[in-house]
Symmetry: C2
Subunit: 371 residues, 2 copies
DNA sequence: CTGTTAGCGCGTTCAC
DNA sequence: GTGAACGCGCTAACAG
């Protein structure tokens, strides 16, 4: 018998047909089946036809684990993001998915949950599967994770931030510059007492804060009321209030938190005339709080968000924000990965996608300055 | 040499240490290393110590593909969702991730993009990796996908909907009932001319619509203006307007679309007194449109959403919605999976998590009826 | 263009 | 408690 699972065998497969079964049925060698499946052009028309039939008749499905073991490679594109609850990263993922369309690449998403150690574990875990390439978010991997990625032997692209010292290639934008640009926009619109509001500071948020401070300093202004982080007790309280397992960083972008933090900012700096929010959800809350308090936006209070989510233009007044190219970032990362894989990549190893100020009504104090 | 990669070999590994290298260094058999790694309690203290040292010295990392091939199993929990852009499913995923915490299970997410054929492909693809279990969204898999899942030989849980005929086990809630409950709530609040607004109808949306219609019929009311779907041309136009690759269903939940569809509904039924939106984003748009038009909510117009996203309670007026237990659904699915894996599952094979009406100000026409 | 041979790295089986 | 042998299903290398 040519069957792969002789009855007397000490170990049997799951009963699923193997490549040997197909080969036997088609009357060819196993390797020919293998080739017919992966590079049909290398196999003669006749044999290919017989093989295809046998494959169909047996409902043969190649075992990817065996393939990976034998060939030492897979078509898995590992993508690590810090959160799946933030539009920011799901937008990136859409770009990634679109980028791999029509490709052999299989996307596999890992959620680091903003935990560097979880990221490290995931890097190790993904690398064990010998991925075709890796895309990781941010540029602040732990030394261990970085070392693993450097030795991964596959293309590695860092996204959503830039650094002078990428693991291999990084494509993203400068958060400090983004923060600076929006603050300068607010200043240009005549706002002077500008607060920065944030629930939780990721490494990237800190960059935006830096840019905000620089812009203020350059304009000779001071920070009226900087509420950039919640106390530990508040953090715990919020966590307790939420469904078990809801990570704090999600809570920290809630509109209701925006309302609360805006109230606080106003209490400690009653002469506030603008708020730069670390994300659009917080800004939405500020907008509603102004509405509830009868504060006129943009006349008495400028409100700006970050990320330019889909609701910014539907607000009333529409909400100014910082447009980051998240979809494009994901797409570009995959494009680069593919080029790195076939050796055709020729771009620089640091790519800055830039950001744009989406100036809308919520910061339009100077008439005629905004579309 | 006992090394796994003799210099003269025709095929070499990647140079990475193998279990044989560890065994050689520790002076034991390969199998003992294998055991020490997976079931330390079966190996004597002394050997375990030597092995651990060797593992560390060589920075040995087990090859998961080889392990999977030899053992015919993995610790991968495959999770298929129709979208990563909707909070709905990312909430589910949080539940899933929290559920596997402290477990050997490795979550692997697949994005079907609301395409049954893509789902079918993904099912096939995931199953080839011999996952420990699968969690799939909805109950409307293609016959082929269903057949594959039935023969997968691993626990399979369907979520976010219920059916009398699950593949194996399904945990979710009834969308028709959800639609009915919210409509009844609106009726109880004195609204009579209630429109249902939706940009795009998924299978689950259709269920909600069914419930809405039933509630109206039961109350002897008619549908004033049902704008439940966009024309094909509009669909194309919207797609063209958006960034390449932005799937229509995303566009279809935009607040700006809510504004637009509300204007239309109002145009064809000026006596409209309430709007039940298929999701909260649309409802947010309706809220802003009312604000812009000077329509008093809830007095002159009741506005209800669906899903109860995080911004509903921060709106002004706060937005009524249907609370679905997405996080809990993900968590429960994993719990069930784990029990199915060790044979301890004893629940029914259809679990209805139910929904709740989150009654807030935007539908509070009858004073005192809402908290 | 096709087949043969020899593994890929690990876990199962069975014996000690 | 430990180890030797064998095989999981597939593909790289080389020969024809």
């Amino acid at each position: 018998m040519a069957s792969a699972a002789p009855a007397g065998s000490r170990r049997r497969g799951l009963g699923r047909p193997t490549i040997a079964d197909v080969a036997a049925l088609a009357g060819v060698g196993a390797i020919t089946v293998s080739r017919a499946l992966r590079s049909p052009e290398l196999v003669s028309e006749t044999l290919r036809r017989q093989i295809d039939k046998a494959v169909r008749d047996l409902a043969y499905v190649p075992d990817l684990n065996a393939r990976a073991l034998a060939s030492k490679r897979t078509d898995v594109l590992g993508v690590l993001v810090p959160s799946l609850s933030h539009t920011v990263f799901t937008d990136v993922l859409r770009g990634v998915y679109d980028g791999v369309d029509g490709t052999k690449l299989q996307v596999q998403v890992g959620n680091t949950r903003y935990d560097p150690h979880e990221e490290e574990r995931l890097v190790a875990s993904f690398l064990r599967h010998k991925p075709a390439a890796m895309i990781v978010s941010g540029v602040d991997q732990t030394p261990a994770a970085r070392a693993m990625l450097e030795n991964a032997g596959c293309p590695v692209v860092q996204i959503m931030d830039v650094t002078d010292d990428p693991i291999q290639l990084c494509i993203g934008f400068r958060h400090d510059e983004a923060g600076r640009l929006m603050t300068e926009h607010l200043i240009a619109q005549g706002y002077r007492r500008i607060a920065f509001i944030s629930g939780w500071m990721s490494i990237r948020s800190t960059g935006r804060l830096r840019g905000y401070r620089k812009a203020l300093a350059d304009a000779g202004l001071t920070e009226p009321c900087l509420t950039h982080s919640l106390s530990r007790e508040e953090l715990t309280r919020l966590a307790a209030m939420s469904e078990p397992g809801v990570p704090p960083f999600l809570e920290f972008s809630r509109p209701s938190l925006g309302r609360e933090m805006f109230r606080r900012a106003l209490a400690s700096a009653p002469d506030l005339d603008a708020v730069f929010c670390n994300n659009d959800s917080l800004a939405l809350g500020v907008l509603f709080e102004c509405l509830a308090q009868g504060i006129d936006v943009p006349r008495d209070m400028g409100v700006a968000g970050f990320n330019d989510l889909d609701f910014t233009d539907a607000c009333s007044p529409s909400l100014s924000s910082v447009r980051t190219h998240r979809y494009r970032n994901g797409y570009a990362a995959v494009t680069a990965v593919r080029q790195l894989m076939d050796g055709s990549y020729e771009g620089p190893n640091v790519v800055d996608l830039g950001v744009e100020i989406a100036a809308r009504r919520s910061t339009q104090r100077c008439v005629g300055d905004v579309a």
